[in-house]
Symmetry: C2
Subunit: 176 residues, 2 copies
DNA sequence: TACTCTGATGTCAGAACCTGACATGAGAGA
DNA sequence: TCTCTCATGTCAGGTTCTGACATCAGAGTA
């Protein structure tokens, strides 16, 4: 169904494509679609839960006594592992569809926020003060998001982790 | 209509309240509601355009030769002007409704992102490099958002600008 | 006053989204 | 073979949102 949806969105645009159409192409009924996805948009965000889990696990697995900066680093490393060169093509197609529709970008922001909330919880679980955890999560997700954007947009094949290091360095420089 | 909607959302919850009900309470038809608001959620975000305008104007009005940090400061000052103690009560009611519903938080994130995009554009208009503008906007909106959250949540009446200064200082410390 | 034009609102029909309730059917296990 | 469970189908219906056309009040003008 995810493949059918992506194809249909590419062919007709998100608004124009109907759930009935997606279901038909996937060989199921509309009702079945809604049993798998909470709404029409979710079909493009099926992987986001796995990403969140790996992020949380990465923070939990950081060495004992890690300070906040080290935890941020662990979080970024865990995130980067989810974006290999093989996935870039699919991610680009998906991203093109997302970029073309405000409703989908909206949902993407929600997923990002959910990721942020999970990160905050993971930081506080590691004993970080809550206020500090919020700021640290803000930094983590900002860096991730910028790196992701550049990963999708960049012509050359860059390592995701490199892009993150770059973004983090720039962020430091802005704050002087 | 905005008042009618807020009341109804408080009484019945966002999902339960229908657009027909809001329109009826406001003494108009459902169709008229949709002429003023693009969709059901927008009724709670009517002021966001004005906020964006004042933000952009604030950045444009910063002194010549301002560096990035000074532009961020001008942006934050312009934002803070929109949040006076008189508005706090209304903002709290609205925020409570928003917090209770994922669909509304989703829309809030979109508005925040729109604010960020406008900020980026305003920074580049002032001659800031694009990559740097993105980072600076990220910082600006993060600080604003944190301050706003605390402004809503805090029991005591704090000046919005003070809360922003505080958040900015903490952000610096996290990046160490 | 009478006319006209414009803008806001009402009315109506309908497509698409989404949900609840119940039915069906295939496969696992006793 | 029986039964239980789980995925899917079927159906009805409420809600959101839109397009097309009608109506009406008020402003401006002859």
């Amino acid at each position: 169904m995810r493949a059918a949806a992506l194809e249909l969105f590419e062919e007709q645009g998100y608004e124009q494509a109907t759930v009935a159409g997606i279901a038909e192409r996937a060989g199921v009924t509309e009702r079945t679609f809604y049993r798998y996805f909470a709404d029409k948009r979710e079909v493009l965000f099926a992987g986001s839960q796995r990403l969140e889990q790996s992020l949380v696990a990465g923070i939990a697995a950081a060495p004992d006594g890690s300070n906040t900066a080290a935890l941020v680093d662990a979080a970024l490393t865990a995130l980067a592992a989810n974006f290999t060169p093989q996935q870039q093509a699919f991610a680009r197609r998906r991203s093109a569809v997302l970029g073309a529709n405000p409703a989908l970008r909206e949902r993407e922001l929600l997923k990002l926020a959910s990721l942020k909330a999970a990160t905050i919880a993971a930081f506080t679980d590691r004993g970080t003060d809550e206020g500090r955890s919020i700021l640290a999560a803000e930094v983590t997700l900002s860096v991730f998001h910028i790196a992701f954007t550049r990963w999708i947009a960049g012509a050359e094949q860059r390592e995701f982790a490199d892009l993150q290091r770059e973004a983090l360095a720039e962020l430091r420089s802005v704050l002087g």
